[in-house]
């Protein structure tokens, strides 16, 4: 048999800078960069290389899965912790203009059509805005898009954070003077804007992206009526599936346009496990020297793709992190909405079940990604699992589990 040596986990990305990496996102489309390993001058046998190739997506698949498990778990934990301790986000009664039907009647039928109508309105708004974004991107109105993104992150990072801080202070009955508050919010906001839209330490950027996803999820949990939330979760995963996979879907068009132009999509909307240069700013420069770049790229696919990887090799002092897996912030938001809503209306069993099912769904999605190697929607599988387990745990498992625990019966 074997001894129990500890298997050390080492990050081998520095050695294999030509690995195949894939990314998934939702909400704003995604892109996959599929790179074949270089075959020139390899002294080892072909079979070894092929075995290594097959093992690579499996091994790096596991790596990517964990690199996404951790931020998704953190986002969910922030949302659940807030929901359980700050009652502001579970108080109903206030709604957005997008959901005019407030589900106030006790009749189930009325609630259902209210929820469906609200969901239809919201999905309609999302579709219109996405198509608008794709049209802007196609006609190269980069400044407009960047301005739009800056305004929305500005609102998130200043106003929603201020609201959140206020409610947390109120929940714990802590007094804070306006001067301290102003300094704190100003610093938090400005550092957030810099990290998300420009350069910053990777960990800080990831932390800010997680925080703004959590804030957005909390806003959704607060301002959407109950049944509407569940219907929207279902509807948006169907929309995601359609938008990313259908040939005329807006997100697929966005992905393909970005691929044609050799650009990466706005870093403010994607969580990436490695450094990414905010290419919207450099797109203008690239347009001028576009011809030179294109002519210097040799024709064959392999070396062409490797050249592409190298020109996007982001920051000079981090050569080892060439590419990683990416997940759209919309996915973070909707996963957290599901788990947060489950924790607000049901007990810990349900929350745990939703959490595990979302993680398993994410794992399956990444597995599919490793198999298909193109942009995939991250919402459908996880949200489906999450919804199934929410309903079944809240109505079937929880009563059983509570009866068992109350009688001290262990199965």
């Amino acid at each position: 048999m074997s001894s129990s040596t500890r298997i050390s986990y080492s990050n081998r990305m520095d050695e294999l800078n030509t690995e195949g990496d894939v990314e998934i996102r939702c909400g704003e489309g995604s892109r996959s960069r599929d790179v074949e390993p270089e075959r020139a001058g390899a002294p080892e046998s072909e079979r070894d290389e092929e075995e290594e190739e097959d093992a690579m997506p499996l091994k790096y698949g596991a790596d990517s899965v964990i690199k996404l498990f951790v931020p998704v778990t953190l986002c969910m934990m922030v949302v659940v912790a807030t929901i359980k301790s700050v009652s502001f986000y579970t108080e109903g009664g206030q709604y957005l203009i997008y959901t005019p039907f407030h589900e106030e009647s006790p009749d189930v039928g009325t609630k259902i059509w209210n929820a469906v109508a609200n969901a239809a309105i919201l999905i309609g708004v999302i579709v219109v805005l996405t198509i608008f974004l794709v049209v802007l991107y196609k006609y190269r109105c980069y400044r407009f898009i960047q301005g739009w993104l800056i305004v929305s992150t500005l609102i998130l990072v200043f106003f929603f954070a201020f609201m959140y801080l206020g409610e947390v202070l109120r929940a714990y009955n802590i007094a804070m003077d306006y001067i301290t508050l102003a300094v704190v919010i100003w610093n938090f906001g400005v550092v957030g804007m810099v990290c998300i839209h420009w350069k910053g330490p990777l960990l800080l950027q990831q932390a800010y992206l997680i925080l703004i996803s959590a804030l957005m999820a909390l806003i959704f949990i607060k301002y959407l009526p109950d049944w509407t939330t569940w219907v929207i979760l279902g509807a948006i995963s169907i929309y995601d599936l359609v938008a990313v996979l259908c040939p005329r879907g807006p997100l697929r068009v966005l992905v393909e346009t970005a691929q044609e132009r050799n650009e990466s999509i706005f870093p403010a909307l994607i969580y990436s496990s490695t450094f990414m240069v905010p290419t919207v700013a450099t797109m203008a420069d690239r347009e001028e020297e576009g011809e030179d770049h294109n002519s210097s790229n040799p024709e064959p696919n392999d070396s062409g793709s490797t050249a592409r990887i190298q020109e996007e090799e982001p920051v000079a002092d981090h050569p080892e992190e060439s590419s990683g897996v990416k997940l759209g912030l919309g996915d973070f938001i909707f996963y957290s909405v599901l788990v947060g809503k489950a924790s607000s209306v049901a007990d810990w069993n349900t929350t745990l079940a939703c959490f595990i099912s979302i993680l398993v769904g994410l794992c399956l999605t990444l597995l599919l990604l490793a198999v298909f190697r193109k942009a995939l929607p991250a919402l459908p599988i996880s949200i489906t699992f999450g919804l199934i387990f929410y309903l079944s745990t809240a109505y079937v498992i929880s009563p059983f589990s509570q009866t068992l625990a109350a009688n001290q019966v262990y199965i």
Binding site: E52, A55, I66, A353, I356, I397, Q408, Y410, I411
Partner: protein
């Protein structure tokens, strides 16, 4: 005071599991995924057992009806998970080259690791589900000194529940290892004996917990835990020789037992 009880109960029941997870599973991404998959399988088995409980409406208060089915379903899903692991490890063996030290090697280097992960996944699922409702109500107001009908009138409910959850987590680890060894490694007749032992001991401990006081079940469960641990230790390749070597810490001159 209630908060202290909450933390005490949480660390009693979940402490060893958290430590085991942090030390042996958290460093390796493949292990984490297998662990999450094991918890998912346990959850699905619980879902089917609860559907059964819910479906048979007149017997909902008679837990003695649904407990055996729950145990059998858990063991069935453990068997399914071990089959899945076996297929996965066969697949990986064809792919991973022998002299690369990878994180994937965990699947092929020591086959008992997968049984351990399966057991820990099932155990943490079982432990979390049995203790989380109790934990969430302990820290609330009005729970200090929950009395039961015993003459001592001490706060036994919380302690007993925590220790029983802990015992089940550890038991699931042992059962997972035994089951995986039986399903994936051994041949007849050992595997049938091991599987029957796992099912029998699980059924015994669960059915005993149906008795009004938890104490007999608690003592039996810990006794079963000791026995299962010894069996699992031997199955995983341990022996008295290993223990002696561990205690003596002879460095570098370890030889396998001559047999």
């Amino acid at each position: 005071m209630a908060l202290m009880e909450f933390f005490g109960s949480m660390f009693i029941s979940l402490g060893p599991a958290i430590a085991l997870f942090a030390l042996s599973i958290a460093n390796n991404p493949v292990k984490i995924i297998l662990f999450a998959a094991a918890m998912f399988f346990w959850l699905v088995s619980l879902l089917i057992s609860s559907c059964l409980w819910r479906a048979v409406v007149p017997l909902q208060q008679v837990l003695a009806f649904s407990v055996p089915f729950a145990v059998i379903l858990q063991e069935m899903f453990r068997f399914l998970y071990c089959l899945l692991l076996k297929k996965a490890s066969v697949g990986f063996e064809k792919v991973v080259s022998p002299d690369k030290d990878d994180t994937l090697k965990v699947l092929t280097r020591n086959p008992h690791t997968m049984g351990y992960i399966a057991g820990l996944g099932f155990g943490v699922g079982s432990g979390l589900y049995s203790i989380s409702n109790i934990l969430s109500s302990i820290s609330g107001p009005g729970t200090v000194g929950i009395e039961d009908d015993s003459p001592n009138r001490s706060s036994k409910f919380i302690l007993e529940s925590s220790f029983m959850s802990l015992c089940f987590i550890l038991l699931h680890i042992c059962w997972g290892m035994l089951f995986h060894a039986a399903a994936a490694i051994y041949n007849k007749p050992y595997n049938i004996i091991l599987i029957l032992y796992v099912i029998f001991s699980h059924m015994l401990v669960s059915l005993l917990s149906l008795i009004y006081t938890l104490l007999p079940a608690l003592i039996t469960a810990y006794a079963v835990l000791c026995v299962s641990f010894i069996i699992a230790f031997y199955v995983a390749g341990g022996s008295l020789h290993n223990i002696k070597h561990l205690i003596k810490r002879t460095s570098g001159n370890w030889e396998p037992p001559k047999d």
